[in-house]
């Protein structure tokens, strides 16, 4: 909108440099998938090969970790969707005071450092004498994913005209029918966007997971455990590229689905 004005050259240069700083590391990760050197990060790579993709494909531990991460992310996203939409619907009708309290409660797991959530859950498990399981991982993930869904849905609710809902009720629809036929279609893209961000968030979470997984290995925990091992390093890169690929699509889609709701919603974890 202000394109008639030209940016100073130095500003353009600085902005471009920062953007390059943000993205160049991804190129390095990609490059090292193909190096023939597997015990050090020597640059430039002595040779290039596609073999590490085959090696990664044939590693059962990677598949196990991948499937666990996908199951956790899908389950946690499901729970976050249900809880997030309920909370958003409730807060949308509430008074200012209660609204702030609920918002604060939901945002706390991501506003406080991740280890707080992690060690809190760990303390509770230890106090209650509960064993680690698939569900302990899911519980942790769902807790910090709710706010993502909640933010997106609440933002959309604020832009949904109340007159539409009133018209539906005036025409004889019950509140359930109005929800299903009028409100839900209106919320659909916000729900999809929130769900995708929640999925991406859960899929690569490592801090909280470390405290709630016990001996189980999600994909991020697998990657973290590989960082200290000097053998077959390019395999870790292949998995890293896979993780980036799996999370990129939902992020870009979520961005386009909520673009018209301006810049802010869902911008923060």
């Amino acid at each position: 909108m202000r394109s008639e004005e030209k940016a100073p050259f130095l500003l353009k240069l600085a902005a471009a440099a920062v953007l390059l700083f943000l993205h160049a590391p991804f190129a390095v990760i990609l490059l090292y998938c193909f190096t023939t050197e597997d015990a050090s990060f020597v640059f430039p790579p002595p040779g290039l090969t596609l073999d590490w993709f085959r090696v990664a494909w044939e590693r059962p531990d990677i598949w196990r970790a991948l499937f666990l991460s996908l199951r956790v992310a899908a389950t946690a996203t499901g729970a976050a969707l249900v809880l997030g939409i309920l909370a958003a619907l409730a807060v949308h009708r509430m008074q200012a005071f209660g609204r702030e309290a609920v918002s604060l409660l939901l945002v706390l797991p991501i506003a406080l450092p991740g280890i707080v959530t992690g060690i809190a859950l760990r303390s509770a498990l230890s106090l209650g004498g509960l064993p680690f399981s698939f569900w302990t991982i899911v519980a942790g993930h769902a807790t910090f994913c709710i706010v993502v869904v909640y933010n997106n849905v609440l933002a959309r609710l604020r832009r949904t005209a109340a007159s539409q809902l009133e018209a539906s009720m005036d025409l004889g629809a019950s509140s359930f029918e109005t929800f299903r036929r009028v409100l839900l279609p209106n919320l659909a893209t916000a729900l999809v966007a929130g769900g995708m961000l929640a999925f991406a968030l859960s899929f690569d979470e490592v801090i909280v997971t470390t405290f709630t997984a016990g001996q189980q290995e999600t994909l991020p925990i697998w990657i973290f455990s590989q960082l200290t091992k000097p053998r077959q390093r390019p395999v870790t890169n292949v998995v890293a590229v896979l993780v980036v690929a799996v999370t990129t699509l939902p992020i870009v889609l979520a961005h386009y689905l909520t673009r018209e709701t301006s810049t802010v919603e869902g911008a923060h974890r």
Binding site: R2, L22, V42, L86, L105, S126, T143, F224, V244, I251
Partner: protein, 300 residues
């Protein structure tokens, strides 16, 4: 079904309570309950002799936080968090400023995705990337060698306090990786704050004869401050509680996150781990209060 809808419609409070019950039950029992468990655990202590947690009220664990080694860990972590926040603010500003004031249409949309992608995409992978870049035999060493700056790199690595055998096992490397992974958290709120600076104010300043740099210092920067503070909440909080970055790129001096991880893990000392998290929680509580005063929450 219809009767139920009518019943609830006539009792909006009951409807509200039903909507709220599940999310509140989840967050209340699971999350707040766990936070309570955390507090309770911190009043237990580990018996050094048996290696078991003694479940009886004691302040011993809290007292042990004051041991010089533990104070050292806290000081190291807080210093790092402050430096990282400062560096991120400096780096984020030009990009946010360009996005908010000059970019439009397609360029703006592209830049938005360009910041959002690293913001949401795998944090672990982005830390790992720096392990490759900063390795002794890696890209950066090669690049500096090509530029004839190998001597400068060696000089920096020999500095006490920030250097080390290579960048990937030095405090400097930890710093660079922290700055990198949290940078998008700073760009987005600063951009949001700058978007709200009225154009007329900048014009008025120019009309009154101010040099553009003076306008920047007197008008734009003060109005961007809430955005900077909002971003700093994330950069500060995330650095305080992280164990991945120093674990991957640091030397052997631990950060708070690593201490918590080590104590709850092999040592089985959950009480001390729990007490340790009180440090970031207390710091963040004070920080959030200050941030609220500076109007940062409106910029979130």
């Amino acid at each position: 079904m219809r009767a139920l809808a009518r019943f609830l419609y006539r009792r909006p409070r009951l409807g509200l309570a039903l909507l709220l019950s599940l999310p509140l039950l989840w967050m209340g029992l699971l999350y707040v309950g766990s936070l309570f468990a955390l507090v309770i655990q911190s009043f237990f202590r580990l018996d050094d002799f048996t290696g078991l947690v003694v479940r009886r009220f004691t302040l011993d664990t809290w007292r042990s936080l004051l041991l010089p080694a533990h104070v050292d860990i806290a000081r190291r972590t807080v210093t790092m968090a402050a430096l990282v926040t400062l560096a991120d603010a400096v780096l984020a500003f030009p990009l946010a400023y360009y996005m908010a004031r000059y970019a439009s249409g397609r360029v703006k949309a592209l830049l938005a995705v360009g910041v959002l992608l690293p913001h949401w995409s795998s944090y672990l992978v982005r830390v790992y990337a720096w392990k490759l870049i900063l390795a002794k035999e890696g890209v950066l060493t090669w690049l500096l060698g090509r530029l004839g700056l190998s001597g400068a790199l060696d000089g920096v690595l020999q500095l006490p306090g920030i250097g080390g055998p290579s960048l990937s096992v030095s405090p400097l490397g930890t710093f660079v990786a922290f700055v990198y992974v949290w940078l998008p958290y700073m760009v987005l709120p600063i951009q949001a704050a700058l978007e709200r600076v009225p154009r007329s104010l900048l014009e008025a300043s120019a009309d009154l004869g101010a040099h553009p740099l003076r306008t920047l210092a007197r008008i734009t920067l003060p109005l961007a401050l809430p955005g900077v503070v909002a971003g700093s909440i994330f950069t500060f909080s995330l650095t305080l509680g992280d164990f991945i970055v120093p674990g991957t790129l640091g030397n052997s001096s631990p950060f708070i996150g690593q201490a918590v991880l080590a104590h709850q893990g092999t040592a089985g000392n959950i009480p001390l781990a729990a007490a340790f998290t009180a440090i970031p929680m207390a710091i963040m509580a004070v920080y959030l209060m200050l941030a609220k005063r500076l109007g940062a929450f409106d910029a979130l």
